[in-house]
């Protein structure tokens, strides 16, 4: 490891070249540059995951660790080349003071020539990744909605500002589930009439699966909160019965299908490095992610339209959110948070109709409370406009 304090990008490049020469490996066959924009809190996990993913995708990893503040603007860098950490190069840059606002100036000189660039925000991501000073250099922009406390709103923002090349690790996490569900429907299970996703509170992957199912199957899709961990169950009601894929403990899963014996399936929760490695396998736009976002928008919108009862498809046509981005509704959480249990109790007291789940397990599972996903009903700015979409203040 080479430590360069109070340095600049040119010196970092020179240090990498010197190190390569010292190790006697002049030929470099790295396939891409990964820029990680992060803070001290997330940097260790993110850099470790990226180093592991570099085993599958030899790459140059540039960690831009932002340390804004009133201190003097300067750059400290650490450089690892090859060795035990993996085949790639890892450059960890700490951007102090005002420099944190000019991360692009550090990243640009360090990009590998003529190879794809991927940007990844393990924590908070800009609202418009494609317009971001770092993001605009990248073919692929990876955000991670999981880390957001207001993920429904966040997914709305992702949809409003979607540009080809945007993607989300919350979406990546759904792949094993989606794969198993798609395989189940390869079999003659009948036509799907309804989809239900059971997921832990504040796990956007469940909503994304629901969005995907909604768009692909065009059936009423319901999201129900469970204790977790993560996604616990997906039920596809078909004309022949039910396809049930459940993973109650986050480890082993079961698949039940009409006319077939139930069977165990393997559906492990994957590490961050595995998720990132999957993400880097393809660098072309992920249209299916966009479809899932549109489905999420539809579900969240309908939840708002029918407060207090099951999230069902409205008979009346919803505004065609998928037609133009400008019409998209960025769903937003209501500022006042009520405990969901209280809410269920309140519902009962108020004589409101209870959902099936409320009746079955009133203390553990409940419908996404649409009051909590109150639509901001504000129109997101047109795609190319510079105005930031409305976002809840932290």
């Amino acid at each position: 490891m080479i430590i360069l304090d109070n340095t600049h990008a040119g010196a970092v490049t020179a240090a990498i070249e010197a190190e390569r020469r010292r190790m006697g490996s002049p030929a470099v066959s790295m396939v891409l540059t990964l820029i990680i924009v992060t803070d001290e809190l997330h940097q260790a996990d993110a850099l470790a995951a990226a180093s592991q993913a570099a085993r599958e995708h030899p790459m140059r990893i540039i960690g831009l660790i932002l340390r804004p503040g009133r201190g003097e603007a300067h750059l400290d860098a650490q450089v690892h080349v090859g060795g035990d950490d993996g085949p790639g190069e890892l450059i960890a840059c700490r951007l102090h003071g005002a420099l944190a606002k000019h991360a692009g100036s550090v990243a640009i000189p360090l990009l590998l020539p003529d190879t794809p660039v991927v940007a990844w925000w393990p924590g908070d991501a800009p609202d418009m990744p494609a317009a971001d000073p770092i993001g605009k250099h990248a073919q692929r922009r990876i955000t991670d909605t999981n880390s957001s406390s207001s993920y429904v709103e966040e997914l709305g923002i992702r949809l409003a500002n979607y540009e080809p090349g945007d993607t989300d690790l919350a979406w990546t996490r759904t792949t094993p589930w989606r794969s198993m569900l798609a395989a189940a429907l390869d079999q003659p299970v009948g036509r799907v009439t309804k989809a239900t996703v059971y997921v832990q509170a504040r796990v956007p992957s469940g909503l994304l699966i629901a969005g995907w199912l909604q768009r692909r199957l065009k059936v009423p899709t319901e999201v129900i909160h469970s204790k977790g961990p993560g996604i616990t169950k997906v039920v596809l009601t078909t004309t022949k019965g039910e396809v049930v894929l459940s993973r109650p403990d986050g480890r082993s899963a079961h698949l039940e299908m009409p006319d077939a014996p139930a069977s165990k399936v393997v559906l492990p929760r994957r590490t961050l490095a595995e998720q990132l490695a999957e993400e880097l396998r393809r660098l072309d736009p992920d249209e299916i992610y966009l479809q899932a976002l549109r489905g999420v928008d539809r579900i969240a919108h309908e939840a708002h339209s029918l407060p207090g009862i099951d999230i069902k498809r409205r008979v009346k046509k919803a505004p065609s959110a998928e037609k133009t981005v400008a019409n998209t509704v960025a769903a937003k959480k209501a500022p006042a948070k009520k405990s969901p249990t209280k809410k269920a109790v309140a519902k009962r007291a108020a004589g409101e109709p209870l959902s099936r789940e409320d009746r079955a397990k009133p203390t553990t599972q409940r419908v996404i409370n649409p009051a909590k996903i109150k639509s901001a009903a504000k129109k997101a700015p047109a795609k190319k406009s510079a105005t930031k979409p409305v976002r809840k203040a932290k």
């Binding site: 066959s29 085993r55 989606r178 198993m180 299916i288």
Partner: protein, 505 residues
């Protein structure tokens, strides 16, 4: 009906095999234990097998299902590529069955049929079953006939039955045709999968991508620029415990047939109109049928047997001293041949193929060696250390591409020397990329035939090899060569006659 959850744009979703089971004959063999069973586990671990997947073992052993499960478990623990996970194993082991029986016994096959039918009920395999013949080729006809007689070869409606045959595909043209006839009588050609475990699909696709996705190589990929091509598969090990299989087969039948000839076809074929199985096969068949043999086989081929000696720091026995080998055996453990391809692209460019055991190191590569520059505006001393440019497909280990070219040595004197530029598919990428067997087995279960050779290809290959093998058979014992070296003297002489040298791979 199409599946609404599948979309060609959704490239994250892998193709998972539908409900099915695999029946393995010869579960006690090396290949089954070291390759097939671990590959099945690896597929399960990657989530590519159907939930109710069933694995049936058939062997002449007094075993119960749990004994067989233990064998699978141990082989997976020892040889699987991916990490061992209890939950994956639980899922897999629930579908394991064992049938103790004799290949000749009608009763055993009736029992096998009962077990297979029962799996359709208990595991939901829906009548889809593949039969993997991991047994000596001499037993194929018997097993195929038994499958037919017991009704196992037939399936209802949409269900499928497939059969997997390991190489060698016969031992000459006649036996290959006979084998094909026997199998073809029972299974239609689309249900027959011939597996060559040396040749992974990944490798084939890598080679096709390098050749046909780039504009850099095509213009020079012909006799105007290429001097000759060397295709090598070297193993550092001897025959080990495979005496029964190897003696009488030899390096040419084991490796040159299919493996090296497939590599030759991929290197030399014209661009297929698409990457569909049929288009690729047409091109491969075209180039294989253009292959011609040297007029004087003795001068342009070489063969040898490894002699006792030292290899890689250990003392090793010679081939004739190995257990179970006749001291008068004429089976070759090293074979090198020259072939030419009579078409416009390759006329006058010899292809040298060599395969051997107990050589310097384990390596498989295709080296396309280019002609020297027609004029070198340097003094003779300046280019003394410059040889021909080369593009090398490294196939294993460390799959990748090497380009060799001349470069000036830094300094005031003008001196040009060979340098290598290496591309590897990632340092540990090989660890993450699937084993050849995984893809092969998955293709069988999915019914994807692309890279499995059809019988026409196999027959063309035997047409090439038969005259050489016949000539060799009449020439007595092969020459002995030093273990741990690069083959017999006659192999060096064979190239020296053409004014060329073997690369040291």
């Amino acid at each position: 009906m199409t599946n609404p959850l599948r979309d060609p744009d959704d490239r994250r979703l892998p193709r998972v095999a539908g409900p099915c089971g695999l029946v393995i004959f010869g579960v006690t063999g090396d290949l089954a234990r070291k390759k097939v069973m671990p590959a099945i586990y690896d597929l399960a671990n990657r989530g590519l097998l159907p939930p109710g997947f069933a694995l049936v073992g058939f062997a002449r052993r007094d075993w119960e299902t749990q004994d067989f499960a233990k064998i699978v478990h141990d082989s997976v623990r020892e040889h699987a590529r991916t990490e061992f996970r209890e939950e994956v194993w639980e899922q897999l082991s629930a579908g394991i069955r064992f049938v103790a029986g004799d290949l000749g016994s009608d009763e055993s096959f009736a029992e096998l049929k009962r077990v297979v039918d029962n799996l359709d009920d208990t595991r939901g395999t829906r009548g889809n079953h593949a039969f993997y013949l991991s047994i000596p080729p001499g037993l194929f006809p018997q097993v195929i006939q038994q499958l037919k007689r017991s009704g196992l070869a037939e399936s209802e409606a949409d269900a499928w039955r497939r059969v997997v045959i390991e190489k060698p595909f016969g031992h000459n043209l006649e036996s290959a045709r006979e084998l094909n006839r026997v199998v073809g009588e029972v299974f239609p050609s689309g249900s027959v999968f011939r597996i060559d475990h040396y040749l992974g699909k990944e490798t084939v696709q890598n080679m096709m991508a390098i050749r046909f996705a780039n504009s850099l190589y095509e213009p020079i990929w012909n006799s105007n620029y290429v001097d000759h091509v060397q295709i090598t598969m070297a193993e550092d090990i001897g025959i080990g415990g495979r005496a029964g299989y190897y003696d009488g087969i030899g390096a040419a039948r084991d490796v040159i047939q299919n493996h090296l000839l497939q590599l030759l076809a991929l290197t030399a074929m014209e661009e297929p109109t698409s990457f569909q199985a049929d288009s690729v096969r047409i091109e491969k068949e075209k180039v294989l049928s253009a292959v011609v043999l040297p007029r004087d086989i003795d001068k342009h081929t070489a063969r040898g047997q490894y002699a006792p000696g030292w290899q890689g720091g250990a003392e090793v026995r010679g081939y004739l001293e190995e257990d179970g080998i006749d001291p008068l055996s004429i089976t070759e453990t090293y074979a090198a041949i020259r072939v030419d391809i009579d078409n416009r692209r390759w006329a006058g460019v010899p292809f040298y193929l060599r395969a051997g055991k107990r050589l310097g190191r384990r390596v498989t590569e295709v080296a396309v060696v280019f002609k020297r520059a027609p004029h070198l505006p340097f003094s003779a001393t300046a280019t003394q250390e410059l040889s021909n440019n080369a593009v090398v497909f490294r196939i294993q280990p460390d799959e990748g591409l090497t380009v060799r070219f001349g470069s000036k040595v830094p300094g005031t004197a003008l001196e040009v020397r060979d340098v290598n530029m290496d591309f590897a598919y990632g340092a540990a990428f090989t660890e993450d990329s699937p084993e050849a067997y995984e893809r092969l087995i998955l293709d069988v279960l999915l019914g994807d035939p692309p890279l499995f050779p059809r019988h026409k290809e196999i027959e063309l290959q035997w047409t090439i090899l038969d005259p050489i093998l016949n000539r060799w058979a009449s020439r007595g014992q092969p020459e002995q060569y030093v273990s741990g070296g690069w083959g017999p003297q006659s192999a060096y002489e064979m190239l020296a006659r053409d004014g060329r040298m073997w690369r040291r791979p």
